[in-house]
Symmetry: D2
Subunit: 326 residues, 4 copies
């Protein structure tokens, strides 16, 4: 049987003081179990590009039937850079109203500046987020070395009312959170994990290895390497494809966690091409198109994201159908 | 004598209709002469990281003595990603109050979404900007192809009350505005130029070549290749180093425009290392440190940008002193 | 128990005709079982940078005690680009003389031109190689698209007297053999596998998936992702680190193949940093230094590869000692 | 008038001793004037991919009518990685027989290992080369730092019977010769220049600036930035396009050297697209196709370089015709 890592939902002892700059007590002294599958939910829009809360609600009702660990709101697939801060918070509030208490709501609260990130993290917590997913700032990428990033995440985590999960997504940011920054930040009592979307499995294994003494968990950031990530010690995944094939990804989780690796491999391999299609190859417009095919509301993206061309739509369909999903 | 390109400040004839989606008349039917040197001004902060309007004002008074064509406000060196929209607009208003009418105020108004860019561009125009500098959206860089970018800039330019200047800065965005997008957008009557910070002189020459029939001008985005850019047909530069050595860059402009290339070369070459130090190598914190040395207010950056280390400060000093500037 | 993929060492049926251009019968109609661990052996040199055949022989005697599937001769770690063609062949002959018959000798025979690759492959076969490891040509990388590479490998495989294994090593070549080229080439009866050193586990899984109907096997090209590669269906690894910690890598293989994933994970994770040190971080000079520490002959590299600095040697030592190997 | 840099063909004083490891006297104590235009000649092949010396000879006769400074033999466009060492030397001999004495023959002699480069350089000198063009070794690119490259080029230059020109071509090698290596190597009395094909005009200007005290010259490695390179202090160019439009490139040289920058600009800009087509975009097969259109022998490339597709041929034609060359 597969040994589950020692993360449990049981309360742990009180935290020792960690940082002099910390000005408020953390909300919890308990461990936060991140293990499981999360869809980073898409944001449906009306024809006029306004957030469509009704369609969002209907998606959430369908997701409620899938054994997700929780939802990520305002991840990259939620088009968060295209939402105003106000919209970002409103969407989190709307999700919180629908989401059962035992489901974890992880809200993306990263901004370019430290001060804006602190403020938005507080608003997300007030809106009902259980954890904050904080992406690396990236505009001044030449200056975002370990020193700057450790400082940024430390100050944010010091002040955050909810646990923080680091978020490294080089395909969008052009920046990978350096390994030494991850391992140092893992020692912060309010930083509980990392979502790694880069897909470098050697790095993921090394992060698990070098943080094993901490209360720190690793989530795969894409379905393409989910099984391999479980294999080297990750505890779950935040996967765009879970918006479309959520049940299947939860099944893949179950197979990995129970050590049924051959079955897992067969399933994993059929998910690689559909996953690539809705992420790296064709992006959020493809994710939303595929959602429509599978009974969810996807719809259009905000501009400048463009609708798929006909050729792209056909490619997308092929990537699902050739693997038996359509 | 060096032939100045045909851009003049004289009025041109009325614009013909260009786009059906354009809903308002453009502010001017005149040509906009962009030629000359612009500092992309830094934003001074107080010790608490608030915008320091007094120090900003003092910098502006010093810049007034330098024959700049105008100022760029909210370029990359202005730390605009760390300012709120409200702050971005307030800074433009403050600059407008100080800036003589004949100086051109170019305000950065680019956001990730088209709708936010439209709104901020309008606010910048209302705040007194003469032109809007619009950076490429970049978060979903895999989807920001020519189709998406042409659509984005077209819609923004259609609705902008002031002329638009394209802004390509791959070191920060991880994305270069494709050549074919530039040449197509150059045909838009409200898109008047491009600031190219990539530094690929072959590309800059080709942009000049392929847009020569349009009312479109090219600005070098960095002092390191300013002379070469003039040589292949650019009309000016938006140069971080102009915050520090503005008089010298205006002198370099004068030498290039009057065809005194040997003198220009000697001056240009002494500017390469100082320029690299305050941009690519050490970034905005170095720019602000160098400003202090040369009698301007630089000060600290907003977090997560970190102060220079001692070793970096020494390196910065060497890059100025070894070229005879300190 | 872990299901071993269906590759067996038993003979399979006769091959069907595949290519009209094939001018000689393949040496075998049998399946070639590639599964297992291979060190890509280093080439020891004398103080005058000549190949030191005595030291090579002594290394081979030590390797004979380790349950490797075989050896790779003239892989990247063999400094093959620094050997003349004559030396490349001589080293293979020397290895063949020492190597027991049941051990597989895979010889690197890739050159930039197709014609040179054909010739060297034939010489390698004549020198006793059981299989040829053929790297992607890369100098004209802008033109090395799937069309060119499929043509190249097809012609080489058509004429090769021994089975061909594709070799993709982007860290050295700046080029990844495209997935569609791999899947098409996998249909060639004389192309039996790929050594993938890129480490993209999603891609490795997809290669396994899309070639499962063929007589085609995937070897991990580095120890850092060996376990993950087994997890997604690879059958072995060609690992620089096997020159140093060969017994341990064979143990890792045994644990993976027998489904003892938790033990495998503990071992795998202790191997990541030593592996990175002798490959990506510090390269062949570090590999050879580490060989000395573990009782093998490493010695110096040919120039322009430089000896490690003291700081690098200390870093190397730390990467082994902090994981309990020194 | 444009000031020509102080490089003259007049003899200079005797060289001072430079390196203790230097074991032979340099062939000349005279300055070597590199200034001017060089085609890096293509290698014609027969239908069976053998070197076609008759066609080569005919090309040379046509080139004799163009005021080139000399020829580069075995540059990237000569497909040197596809020639055996013997062929590389034979082609140089054949060119030397045809080439008037006053024309400079620069022969590519770079190999991956230092020892092979030393040997081939000596053979090239014996075959009649006036100078050796030595490319950066690149296979172990992670280890090819300034330390390794300075050591490599120093040892090669120490032993070379003819002056050495450094060659940096990152599009092929994935490696740029670092600036600090260039400036240090420029102090070697037998290293007289650099061919820089990267096209970073800021870097080219800085190389000129930091080597102005040395007997060291900079050649642009591509026609796309030739004028800009002249502008910042380069003395000539080794340009693939000179195989096709040699007369025009010599005219561009003349305009730049005589300070007729506006005329130069018009000509330069019409050359950018044809140049890109025969280099970066479509490579050597396109260069050879264009040579056919302009009365030279181009023919096929050695495999794995593939002939142009029909679509590529049309694109190539468009890039010439839209600029008025066809």
């Amino acid at each position: 049987m597969h040994r589950v890592r020692a993360w449990t939902r049981a309360a742990a002892g009180p935290l020792t003081a960690w940082s002099r700059t910390r000005t408020r007590s953390l909300s919890t002294g308990t461990r936060l179990d991140l293990s499981g599958i999360y869809p980073p939910i898409a944001t449906p829009f009306t024809a006029r590009e306004e957030v469509d809360y009704r369609k969002l609600e209907e998606n959430l009702q369908k997701y409620a039937e899938i054994p997700f660990r929780g939802l990520v709101v305002q991840g990259s697939n939620g088009e968060y850079p295209y939402l105003s801060d106000q919209e970002r918070v409103e969407v989190v509030k709307a999700v919180r109203r629908s989401l059962p208490k035992e489901k974890l709501l992880m809200a993306g609260s990263g901004c370019e500046s430290t001060r804006a990130t602190i403020q938005l993290t507080e608003r997300m917590a007030a809106a009902g987020a259980d954890a904050a997913l904080v992406v690396t700032p990236c505009f001044y990428k030449g200056k975002m070395d370990s020193r700057a990033l450790i400082q940024h995440f430390t100050v944010v985590a010091d002040s955050s009312p909810v646990p923080v999960v680091l978020y490294s997504v080089p395909a969008n940011t052009g920046l990978e959170l350096p390994l030494d920054a991850v391992t140092q930040l893992a020692q912060h009592p309010n930083i509980r994990g990392v979502k790694d979307s880069g897909g470098d499995i050697t790095r993921i294994g090394l992060i698990v290895h070098k943080t094993q003494a901490q209360d720190f968990q690793v989530l795969a950031g894409s379905a393409g390497f989910l099984m391999a990530a479980y294999c080297v010690g990750a505890v779950g995944g935040v996967c765009a494809l879970a918006n479309v094939l959520g049940q299947e990804l939860c099944e893949l989780e179950r197979l990995c966690v129970s050590g049924r690796w051959e079955e897992a491999r067969d399933l994993q391999q059929r998910l690689i091409e559909p996953n690539a299609a809705v992420t790296r190859k064709l992006g959020v417009p493809a994710l939303k198109q595929a959602m429509e095919w599978f009974g969810f509301h996807g719809g259009a993206c905000r501009s400048p994201l463009q609708p798929l061309t006909d050729a792209e739509t056909q490619q997308l369909r092929r990537d699902f159908s050739s693997n038996g999903w359509l």
